[in-house]
Amino acid sequence: MASAHTAQAKTQFGYRRHPDQERSGANIAEHPVVVVGAGPVGLSLAIDLAQRGQRVVLLDDADRIGEGSRAICFSKRSLEFWDRLGVGDRMVEKGVVWSVGKIFHGASQLYQFNLLPEEGHKRPAFINLQQFYAEAYLVDRVEQLPDIDLRWRNKVIALESRNDGVALTIATPEGSYQVYASFVVACDGARSSLRQMVGAEFAGQVFEDQFLIADVKMTAAFPTERWFWFDPPFHAGRSALLHRQPDDIWRIDLQLNPDADPVAEKQPENVRPRIERMLGHDKFEFEWISLYKFQCRRMAKFIHGRVIFAGDSAHQVSPFGARGANSGLEDAENLAWKLDRVLRRASPEGLLESYHIERSAAADENIRESTRSTDFMAPVTKQEARLRQAVLSLAKDTEFGKRMVNGGRLSVPSVYDTPLSSGDRDSWRGGPRPGASMLDAPVTEPGGGSSYLTEVFIRQGTRFTLLEFGNGAAADVPEGVGSIRLGGEGGLVDAQGLAGKRYDAEPGTAYLLRPDGYVAARFRNATRPALDAALARASGLN
């Protein structure tokens, strides 16, 4: 099969011997943090940690970026995270921007939705980008950061937990060696070997239906939208998905019968007629074909001593909803600032427990949403199929029916119910509540230049930051806390009034943002004692 991407992004890397491999016994190298797995999650986590001043060893058992498009939908939230890591522009420039989805039943359109119907956001609802591009751009960024030590063809083969860290045995083409790590983060994917090494179970629901992914190269005039069919004329009785990627590549996802023969179905000569029926022509080439069944499951605990799990190693969902890679990236951004604080001894190790609390709840939400989508697409019982059919037919002429049609609910950031939040004491009619992620809005610099709140937050160093709507003098901000001021002398200007509206702001309103951009607390008037208390709570200090 063609692999057009190799010309555009570096995907092959070499093994290199590291001085750690000469060391043994009492002389074994010690590292503050070792990240296992250089996929999107591990790479992003390593970059975030390095940008916060941590030295990171990043291990990967392969020496190349995986084939196939795999994850293709990256959410606004992920792009905002990647902006902070310095790779957002590259992803968006290469990616295909979209926000509209259409749902069809048979040959006719049932309804369409827009995931970002309002203006005034730096980033779109989604981009589509092949996972190998995302990984290649992240590797390029890693190579700019001397604090990240990326070691290809380094495979963890044994793990021994200690009170103050972990001993890892690592196999290489030149034999094995050991390192000690204060913390290990396992980003080694759904078949995580580290998860097996800590003896954790990974139970959940297995879905019997099989799905066929075909990425095809063709020039087509379809709009850049997510199209989903129930029972289309070209694939009777099942569902189908069509999605655009860069380089004239189109993702086609076809639901197959549970008893379809996986080996036969994957053969290009068997896939070709299916795609021809769908497209009505044969002018396409295959880029990638994959057949999969999926599971929805998560680890009971994301933290096992000093081994922390992030991304697919900790949780798996069905692909409908773009909740796999995006939730893994949210894991990474949630963990990075906490691990950094713990390593710098600015917060107690207990802060990490909030990573498990917040992200396991998010995993439950993602599993719930994607399970519902899957059940809707592949009803289990006769009566379930009947109810599904009733919804689809009611959707033709009722609004409630359209809203019940579930062709995938796309990833949005979770709202955390977390001990790090200080509950509201004032009254609010809107705005992101504590535990929700910050909202973007356009702002004008005092000098007249235009910017976005998410950009200003990055310039503040993605640390604890007070977002304040001016009311006379600036609030008394604790040391080490960034400050964004809208209105007032020297402040940013909310020229379109969107920031004020999105944050339900009055003069004096202030939001304390966490280093991952989530709201820790908000005040109608921020007094210093209240700020200090909220900051301590969000830092895990009480």
Binding site: Q383, R386, L387, S393, L394, T398
Partner: protein, 75 residues
């Protein structure tokens, strides 16, 4: 709001009749399709998840009771 199980129709026989007549002349499969759609339409009209859950629990208890009785008769 709690599920109302007091009699809400001035003429309950008319309501029962309307539902029965809707099923007249239908095959079992068609009837099941009709019921599925009807349940969804009515559930949306109620628009209250707690009431819906109570209604499901009440209806389900009856089917469970019925199947238990059947089992006892068979024994």
């Amino acid at each position: 709001m709690a599920l109302s199980t007091s009699s809400n129709f001035a003429k309950p026989d008319d309501a029962f009749r309307a539902i029965v007549e809707a099923h007249r002349g239908l095959t079992d499969a068609q009837s099941a399709d009709l019921d599925a759609a009807l349940v969804l339409v009515l559930a949306n009209h109620i628009g209250d998840l707690d009431v819906l859950r109570e209604a499901i629990a009440l209806a389900k208890r009856r089917t469970l009771d019925a199947s238990q009785q059947q089992q006892q008769q068979q024994q």
